[in-house]
């Protein structure tokens, strides 16, 4: 196994749903950062589109009073990930930094992990990825291009984490909170997505996590995710509740 020591980190994300405006900037940033193939019409129609992060939109109420609700969903990097024990080749496993990592080289494409995932955030490459000629030079050299037949999913932009931790180590210092940002969190205009180290008690995410609005998705599966959500503050609802 890997022996390189990256320090005592537990990477995670805090998603403030109250701040999300559903702009999809994170989706686009992720698409560009991680060399995700284009989601053409055909792929979307055949339910084969790949988007490591997605913003789910829900409508509440009927037409005149309808409200749009948004929630960004990405790999939850569960501590008790249902996808991990089922992989026959250890292509997905939990690393020492609290991340659920996908090893593309090992993956043989059984797609069992995808069935196990309650959040449905794992994607399969049904075809060899292709880009139009004009986009060829836009590919990120830090990120592997996934061939057909393997699974992929949100990596918490692991290449950025590695670059920054190595840099910090070579300079003989700790990683400064906030210097590592995932593509989505850096693109988020309202700071709804916040990335950081939960092991550092002074980091922004550690402080946000203590908010009483915090919850995790689908807790009935007891997956213990490293992505924490902060609930939407709904002013109308409270007033309505009082009138009841």
């Amino acid at each position: 196994m890997t022996t390189e020591n990256f320090g005592n980190n537990n990477w995670g994300m805090v998603v403030d749903v109250d701040k999300c405006i559903g702009c999809n900037a994170c989706v686009l940033a992720c698409q560009a950062e991680n060399n995700i193939p284009l989601n053409t019409q055909d792929r979307v129609e055949r339910a084969r589109s790949i988007s490591w992060i997605r913003v789910e939109r829900y409508w509440e109420g009927d037409f005149p009073d309808a409200k749009a609700r948004f929630i960004p969903i990405m790999c939850q990097h569960c501590e008790n990930a249902p996808c991990e024990p089922v992989c026959p080749v250890y292509a997905t496993y939990h690393n020492a930094e609290g991340m659920n990592v996908q090893v593309y080289n090992r993956c043989v494409g059984t797609r069992y992990c995808a069935n196990g995932c309650p959040y449905i955030v794992r994607f399969f490459n049904f075809w060899e990825p292709v880009w139009p000629e004009s986009l060829r030079n836009h590919l990120n050299p830090d990120v592997t291009i996934r061939s057909r037949g393997i699974m992929e999913k949100c990596s918490f932009c692991v290449h950025r984490i590695r670059r920054e931790t190595r840099k910090a180590r070579s300079e003989g210092r700790e990683v400064i909170d906030g210097t590592i940002q995932t593509a989505c969190s850096s693109a988020c205009p309202t700071s709804a997505l916040n990335f950081g180290n939960f092991n550092d008690p002074n980091s922004k995410v550690s402080k946000m996590k203590k908010d009483k609005r915090h919850y995790t998705l689908l807790d009935q599966f007891a997956t213990d995710p490293n992505v924490i959500y902060l609930a939407k503050i709904d002013a109308d609802k409270k007033v309505a509740a009082k009138h009841d």
Partner: protein
Amino acid sequence: MQQRRELDQSYTNRKLLNGQLDTPKWWAPTVTGLGILVVIGLIVIATMINKGLGVTGLGRPVFWGLFITTFVFWVGISHAGIMISAILRLTQAEWRRPVTRAAELLTVFSLLTALVFPLIHAGRPWRIAYWITPYDISRGIYPNIRSPLIMDPVAISTYLTGSTLFLYIALLPDLGNLRDRTTGWQNAMYTVLSLGWRGNPRQWKMQTVGGILLSALMLPIFVSVHSIVSWDFAIAPAVEGWHSTIFAPYFVIGAVHSGVSAVVTMMALMRWLWKWDDFIRPEHFDALARLLIVVATGWLAFTFLELIFAVYGQDAPELALREMQMFQWPWNLLFIIFLLTGYFIPVPMWLFKRVRTNIALMFWTSILVNVGMWLERFLIIVPGLARRTPFVYTWEAYRPSAVEWTIFIWSFCWVTFLMLLFSRFFPLVPLFEQKESQVFTEDVTIGRAKVPAIVREAD
């Protein structure tokens, strides 16, 4: 009870070896035709591996579809052999005798077919060796034995090895018989294969002991294979229709249901094709149908329990899944066909002795059962995945593509092809079992009645 017929031993030999000693006329054209279909299927598989799984109808979240269904189906069929040969052997059911060989063959060939599906269904089949054999230990990673997908190949290959041995041990006396009746290259082949079988008491004893030991050893494997296949599904807590504790025995009893039905289908075909009316008799169909009534009813009870404990929890996602599986188009149609063909048409018919002893009716009802059992697997696997889950914008996205259907049909051609090929070289009804049953049955007179009796070992 119909009158037992005394069959002359040389007549038995002549009749049962007619596939090997003088091949029937229909054999060569049929095998050639099937061979062409098999080759076409292989070309389609090769194309799929070459192009990628995009040629299937799979998508997100339906990552498993027709291939896995068919895999489970064939593993289910493979339970025929051990059920008939081992369990009935240990419980000393006399009527099993002419059926054993066919059932064991079905086990071996259906397992060979079943094994193909998880392989071609993987994204990178050429890397599958990493799964099963930890040959490349330099990577520092052993296969993940916690994964049911590792337990699967282990269980299935053990089962395949065991069944092949079982088949071979039961074949030895017949191989000796064939060696004595053939010349030329065939004689040479049978000489090697029969391992010097002469039929002396010691060899018979070894053969019998070997058979009984293998029966007993195969039983746990028989149960474990389909249990492990069921755990592929049952251990996934996130898929509502899958996470049920009953899956293991439910799958096993369903497998016996479909496997024994497949044996009935095969027996009817054998009776017609080789005109073995003297050996595969209505009473055998009668006994198999009685067994099937019990198995099918047990299976229905498990189905009922599975359903009732699914809705018992009153969880919204589970209720939604069941709603979809049972009442929404097109699943509702499939569900009705599944219930009717899996139980409610065949089993009430089998309650009548006239049906049980009518070979044509038994043939068609047994085919119905397997239609139902295939649908059962489909209805477990696909709606479970295609259900609408929280936080996902795609669901119900699966329609099997032409490629998948072709490979599905290929599997049937392939099994039939292997069977017919086998029948050219080896007898499909065990001669020695046939003769043994003649020796071990006797009519006794009790009071006024003449009653068939069986010789049993004194205990």
